[in-house]
């Protein structure tokens, strides 16, 4: 009896407190007494955006407007993300993509096309190593905080990423609270805005069920395996052994672009060597296949590359240049301007490999075999000259210096290894690069963006 009375009193007390709380007018919390936190640095904001997918769940509607085959196309997609790497994309419009579903679990991406009742299984669109590209991006881009802005009622930092060389310039609207990119704009130097994305609606911390990120296709679905690329980190020498035909390495590329890996691309009887170069924010891909295994596409316009026939295809956001040399059909894909792609192709066609090996080894005062070995690792001639100069100045091994030049070893990490201050290391690298004569004998019409003795580590 006593226990019942005590329980009743407790319940009455809880109800009374709850009632009082509900009846009481809302009192805004007092403003913090300490000073407002300082605005984080642009790099800190960028890193916050990189970290966000690991920490935040969201679900929203995104609008994408992209240049495609000479026209702007608007696509609406329902995008859901569950940390750390579950992604569900359901395309809503236009009609020809409506119903397309892509589910990516960080390992495999499954793309279901309802009109065809087909399911494409592919490797993930998400690369866990993407964050590691930050070192390269930070080296090759000016990251500037333009201010703050409001996107769908949320405060966002506006970051600008401008490449030192050539390529697409980006602006990102990063949510102040979560780090999620709420809006982005990609601009091309010659054509202006080529891609915009923004959330028209977004909700956070929904605790989305994992089942939402599994897809069970309807009965009778035809499943197509699309794992076309294998062995993503091979160097050109290993790649050559895999494909069984010579793999050509570009002699020079726009400033900042460095070798990021090679792979074999296979589909049916078409086997291609795939080399990719990146400046951290943009990629140029080279696909090389025996000329006899693939003909000329009907798309695009015919062009001449160093008097050789070629074909240029402007897809909008991406550009494609195809040409033939030494029995190979080479295809370059990227966001780089068409003139840059043409120039890179021209240098490859010039085929002055042996002369440039001799020239660079003389200028860098190293033996030709070292130059050849570095070429087989995918380095361009300016990168080789830079690697030799830095290795000599810092006393680091060639392997370590290559990692540093490739951007897989940051200034901070190398400085720690050498027990130096990062600023002192930067200065030493700058001196080494400036004092050496690093301009290899490239064709006179080299693009302005090509490295010419000025490294920005």
């Amino acid at each position: 009896m006593m226990r019942l009375a005590a329980n009743a009193m407790t319940a009455a007390l809880v109800l009374a407190i709850a009632g009082a709380a509900l009846a009481a007018p809302f009192v805004p919390p007092a403003p913090p007494t300490q000073a407002a936190p300082a605005t984080p640095s642009p790099r800190a904001i960028f890193k916050m955006a990189l970290e966000a997918p690991r920490l935040i769940d969201y679900e929203g509607t995104k609008i994408i407007t992209a240049l495609r085959n000479g026209r702007m196309e608007t696509v609406t997609v329902a995008e859901s993300h569950k940390r750390p790497n579950l992604l569900r994309l359901e395309y809503l419009s236009p009609e020809d993509v409506a119903g397309r579903v892509i589910i990516d679990d960080g390992t495999t991406a499954r793309h279901y096309e309802p009109a065809l009742n087909m399911l494409f299984e592919d490797r993930s669109m998400q690369d866990p190593a993407a964050a590691a590209s930050f070192t390269l991006l930070a080296r090759n881009y000016d990251i500037v905080l333009l201010g703050t802005d409001e996107v769908i009622g949320r405060q966002a930092y506006v970051l600008s990423l401008t490449p030192h060389g050539t390529g697409v310039q980006r602006q990102l609207w990063v949510d102040r609270l979560t780090g999620t990119v709420l809006r982005s704009e990609d601009r091309d130097a010659s054509r202006g805005l080529v891609l915009t994305t923004y959330f028209s609606r977004i909700s956070f911390s929904l605790n989305l069920p994992e089942a939402y990120f599994r897809y069970r296709p309807p009965a009778g679905t035809r499943v197509v395996a699309m794992q076309t690329v294998a062995g993503g980190t091979m160097n050109p020498a290993d790649l050559q052994q895999q494909v069984g035909f010579p793999v050509l390495v570009p002699p020079a590329l726009p400033e900042g672009y460095t070798f990021r890996g090679g792979a074999v691309s296979r589909f049916g009887s078409l086997v291609s060597a795939y080399l990719r170069y990146s400046d951290g924010g943009n990629i140029i891909s080279f696909f090389e296949a025996p000329a006899g295994s693939i003909g000329w596409p009907t798309l695009g316009v015919p062009v001449r590359v160093q008097s050789q026939p070629g074909r240029f295809i402007d897809l909008g956001y991406l550009r494609v240049l195809i040409w033939e040399q030494r029995g190979l059909r080479i295809t370059a894909v990227g966001t780089a301007p068409s003139e840059t792609l043409m120039l890179v192709a021209g240098q490859l066609i010039a085929g002055r490999e042996q002369a440039m090996v001799t020239d660079v080894s003389r200028r860098a005062e190293t033996d030709p075999e070292t130059v050849r070995q570095l070429r087989s690792q995918g380095l361009t001639f300016p990168e080789i000259a830079r690697t030799v100069a830095i290795s000599r100045a810092l006393g680091t091994s060639v392997e370590t210096t290559v990692r540093f030049v490739h951007g897989t070893l940051s200034v901070t990490d190398l400085a720690t290894q050498l027990r130096m201050q990062p600023d002192a290391l930067r200065a030493a690298v700058r001196r080494a690069v400036d004092t050496a004569s690093l301009t290899p004998a490239l064709p006179a019409s080299a693009p302005s963006g090509l490295p010419a003795g000025s490294a920005k580590p």
């Binding site: 960028f46 994408i64 992209a66 240049l67 495609r68 000479g70 026209r71 702007m72 196309e73 608007t74 696509v75 995008e79 236009p94 020809d96 993509v97 397309r100 991406a109 793309h111 096309e113 065809l116 494409f120 592919d122 490797r123 993930s124 669109m125 998400q126 993407a130 964050a131 590209s133 982005s184 891609l195 197509v224 076309t228 690329v229 691309s265 589909f267 049916g268 009887s269 078409l270 291609s272 990719r276 990146s278 951290g280 924010g281 990629i283 891909s285 696909f287 296949a289 006899g292 295994s293 693939i294 003909g295 000329w296 596409p297 798309l299 991406l318 494609v320 295809t331 894909v333 990227g334």
Partner: protein, 184 residues
């Protein structure tokens, strides 16, 4: 190679009767000429049609005409079996040839076409593969490039999915989506 010459050589090309240089020239022309590709496909289809004809039983007198002389030759050549068999085989071969060529020219043609088809199979397959690679090559490369864009920090994955998904449809043999919705 011009269109008319390629057209004249097409039948010989299907029958694998051309020199290596002519074969290469016709292949190059096929990649660029839709009309000749159609003609080539028609020739190939006709050959397959002939190859698919059902086997027919030879008439009863055919075997009777062969078996008798063979047995007689075998009996006569008891002391020299090799000579006897050779004679019997020569006789049978001669009868078979005259029967097939004279009385069943359709069979003879079909047999020749089947043999030619088998001989030309690797060549035809290589050409078809090449034509297919030509159709999908650019989309295959764009697909692989788009997926690599995922290694770029903060790239928009919904856009990557759109580009890669469109390319996958073309690779699977579907018609590409039409261009965007507003002229730039």
């Amino acid at each position: 190679m011009n269109h008319h010459r390629a057209g004249r050589l097409l039948s010989a090309y299907v029958d694998s009767e051309l020199t290596a240089a002519e074969t290469r020239a016709v292949q190059e022309h096929l990649l660029d000429c839709a009309d000749c590709r159609n003609a080539y496909e028609n020739l190939r289809a006709m050959r397959e049609l002939l190859a698919g004809l059902p086997p027919a039983e030879p008439p009863a007198e055919f075997w009777a005409g062969i078996r008798g002389p063979v047995l007689r030759a075998r009996a006569a050549a008891a002391g020299a079996p090799e000579e006897g068999l050779r004679a019997a085989w020569a006789f049978a071969r001669e009868r078979l040839r005259s029967w097939v060529v004279v009385r069943r020219p359709g069979w003879a043609l079909a047999a020749v076409l089947v043999v030619l088809a088998l001989a030309a199979l690797p060549l035809v397959k290589g050409t078809v593969d090449r034509l297919h690679a030509t159709e999908i090559g650019v989309d295959l490369y764009v697909h692989d490039h788009a997926l690599q864009m995922g290694s770029t920090p903060l790239v928009d994955r919904a856009y990557v999915g759109l580009v890669a998904g469109d390319a996958e449809l073309v690779i699977a043999g579907e018609t590409p989506r039409p261009a965007g919705d507003a002229a730039r």
